[in-house]
């Protein structure tokens, strides 16, 4: 302890510092706690929350949105998505679609690349389980998750449009570079 002050001055200094610290603690005693009593009470998730992944159906026709283009498979950094395409007359589908959620990074790149807004993220992360095999999501499970939770705001087109320059240039970009439906030149 510094000796350059008199004993009385130092003691009063110490007492004042102690009082100030204890005052801060006491003031917090009277504030409301910030705890959210999960799982009874859930906090409000923001619109763009990056939660579990899911596949979607088209709002009007009820068809699956996924066209099996495999762009998400190529862009995924830890390579957790595996897709097989199924060719049909008017449009393609995905024959199988597996996503290994236990290895997923939740980086949202697959959502950003999807041309048809098929794969999105939900506003929930509540998938804890004791068996890791339950986190190997197949196509049916992904579609079921898409119906079970609230979807996040972020879909492929919304994310890309939010970055794109204002209207006239956006129309140009749409005609100049249409979304690819057959992955002839992979993106990743």
């Amino acid at each position: 302890m510094p000796d350059d002050r008199s004993f009385v001055a130092e003691t009063t200094h110490l007492v004042r510092a102690v009082g100030r610290a204890m005052g801060v603690t006491f003031r917090n005693l009277l504030r409301r706690p910030v705890t959210v009593r999960y799982p009874t009470v859930k906090r409000v998730y923001p619109d763009r929350f990056r939660g579990i992944l899911a596949l979607t159906y088209d709002g009007e026709t009820g068809e699956e949105n996924c066209i099996g283009c495999r762009l998400c498979e190529y862009i995924c950094p830890p390579q957790v998505i595996k897709v097989e395409m199924l060719k049909a007359e008017k449009r393609n589908f995905a024959k199988t679609f597996t996503l290994e959620l236990y290895a997923c990074e939740f980086c949202e790149l697959c959502v950003q690349v999807c041309p048809t807004d098929a794969i999105i993220m939900m506003k929930s992360f509540d998938l804890a389980t004791g068996d890791r095999r339950e986190l190997l999501l197949d196509k049916d499970r992904l579609h079921a998750l898409g119906l079970a939770f609230d979807p996040s705001w972020a879909t492929g087109n919304r994310l890309r449009d939010a970055q794109a320059p204002p209207k006239p240039a956006k129309a140009e970009a749409k005609t100049a570079a249409p979304p690819r439906t057959d992955a002839t030149e992979p993106a990743g």
Binding site: M1, H13, L14, R16, A17, V18, R20, A21, V24, T25, R27, N28, V34, P46, D47, R48, F49, R50, L71, I75, C76, P77, E105, F106, C107, E108, L109, Q112, V113, M121, S152, A154, L159, R160, D161, A162, Q163, A164, P165, K170, A173, A177, P179, A187, G188
Partner: protein, 387 residues
């Protein structure tokens, strides 16, 4: 480096005349991550330190060679996972420098905004964990820890509203940023900043004149100016030892030159000086956030927007280095590109790696209790150290 004979001595033993070899192992409540320090003690005084790192090595640099420039930014956040925005910024800045890719002004300002908010959040974590190390998980330290984490959580709420993630954002992309500010974010940001400014005042009141805190931090862990420059530390360690070096001022990037960053410098070089530097950085970051919010221009947020953001980036042959002023010091990224979509070689300069190497010079002579105080004031993050 002081010569230690710890390698010859089995750890569970006494290494000759009254010396005790104690292992502050990778699993330790105050190791700030996975860090092993083999301390040689004489009574309570540390005589030698043998620092062992590498427990968190995840092959970032090799991984970068297998991932494209579009895929890597979200991985880059995992090097300095506590301050992810600045880590990603180092990577994208390096690639943009090598590839001569422009970044629009709004994107640059957004990057500055996020970097400063991230600095505030990272310093909140530093303050909390440092006080917890000094005060015990069941004591006064835990109180300040919870207060600081409460403030950090409000900043993370802002980041969550912006990107959707709380810790590892993937906010930067080559050419700009990936997300733009949602409606109502600016008002929430101003409110959060105002509240943090007031609360920082409270925590300073709890600590500043506190005799217990002062005796724990003044005169402890002194890094002289020569030692700091010799070893190559950066960030608050360097500025706490009297060297006025801040990359935001010396080599401005991402339009930092528009803001006139004021660099706090202290000359004492002890833990208390580094504490003062970081507290001043809190206030400086708050001021910068307000400046950016006031002057944010309209415009595109990326020079590779929309579909181009997920397309390939072919960077022509070349190499370059970009460094940013992270919360812990200079985070740098050296990229060698060969014309393809993936880098040929990537090298990370982790701030904490160089900062940690000062430990064997300053720890001997201090008591065991000072070891945790000094480690806390060095504030390492082992994602940067081990990569």
């Amino acid at each position: 480096m002081p010569q230690t004979d710890t390698r010859q001595v089995v750890e569970l033993g006494y290494g000759g005349s009254e010396r005790l070899v104690m292992n502050m192992g990778p699993q330790h409540p105050s190791a700030h991550g996975v860090f092993r320090a083999i301390l040689t003690l004489e009574g309570e005084t540390v005589v030698a330190v043998d620092a062992v790192i590498g427990y968190l090595h995840r092959c970032h640099e090799k991984l970068a060679e297998t991932l494209t420039y579009v895929q890597y930014p979200s991985i880059a956040s995992k090097t300095d996972y506590v301050a992810a925005m600045t880590a990603e910024l180092a990577y994208v800045a390096a690639v943009e420098r090598v590839g001569k890719i422009d970044v629009p002004t709004r994107a640059q300002y957004l990057r500055v905004l996020m970097a400063e908010l991230q600095r505030i959040a990272s310093h909140c974590l530093w303050l909390g964990t440092w006080c917890m190390d000094m005060g015990g998980a069941l004591g006064g330290g835990a109180t300040i820890f919870l207060y600081a984490i409460r403030e950090r959580e409000s900043v993370l709420d802002l980041f969550e509203a912006l990107t959707g993630a709380r810790l590892l954002y993937g906010f930067h992309q080559i050419g700009g940023t990936r997300y733009d500010l949602p409606a109502g974010w600016t008002a929430a940001c101003r409110e959060t900043i105002g509240r943090i400014e007031q609360r920082i005042g409270e925590y300073e009141a709890m600590l500043e004149d506190n005799a217990f805190f002062l005796v724990r931090t003044q005169g402890v862990g002194v890094i002289s100016q020569e030692l700091a420059l010799d070893v190559g530390v950066s960030g608050p360690l360097l500025r706490g030892s009297g060297v006025a070096y801040d990359l935001r001022r010396v080599a401005p990037y991402s339009s930092y030159e528009d803001f006139g960053v004021r660099v706090p410098v202290e000359t004492a070089g002890d833990c208390h000086a580094r504490y003062r530097v970081r507290m001043a950085e809190f206030r400086e970051s708050i001021r910068l956030v307000r400046l950016v919010l006031d002057g944010l221009p309209a415009g595109p947020i990326s020079s590779r927007p929309g579909v181009k953001s997920v397309g390939q980036v072919r960077v022509p042959k070349g190499e370059g280095y970009a460094a940013v002023e992270g919360a812990r010091g200079e985070i740098g990224c050296y990229v060698i590109a060969d014309g393809g979509p993936k880098p040929y070689r990537l090298k990370w300069r982790g701030a904490s790696f160089s900062n940690l190497s000062v430990l064997p010079h300053i720890l001997p002579g201090h008591k065991v209790a000072d070891v945790v105080a000094i480690m806390g004031s060095v504030d390492p993050v082992f994602g940067e150290v081990d990569r």
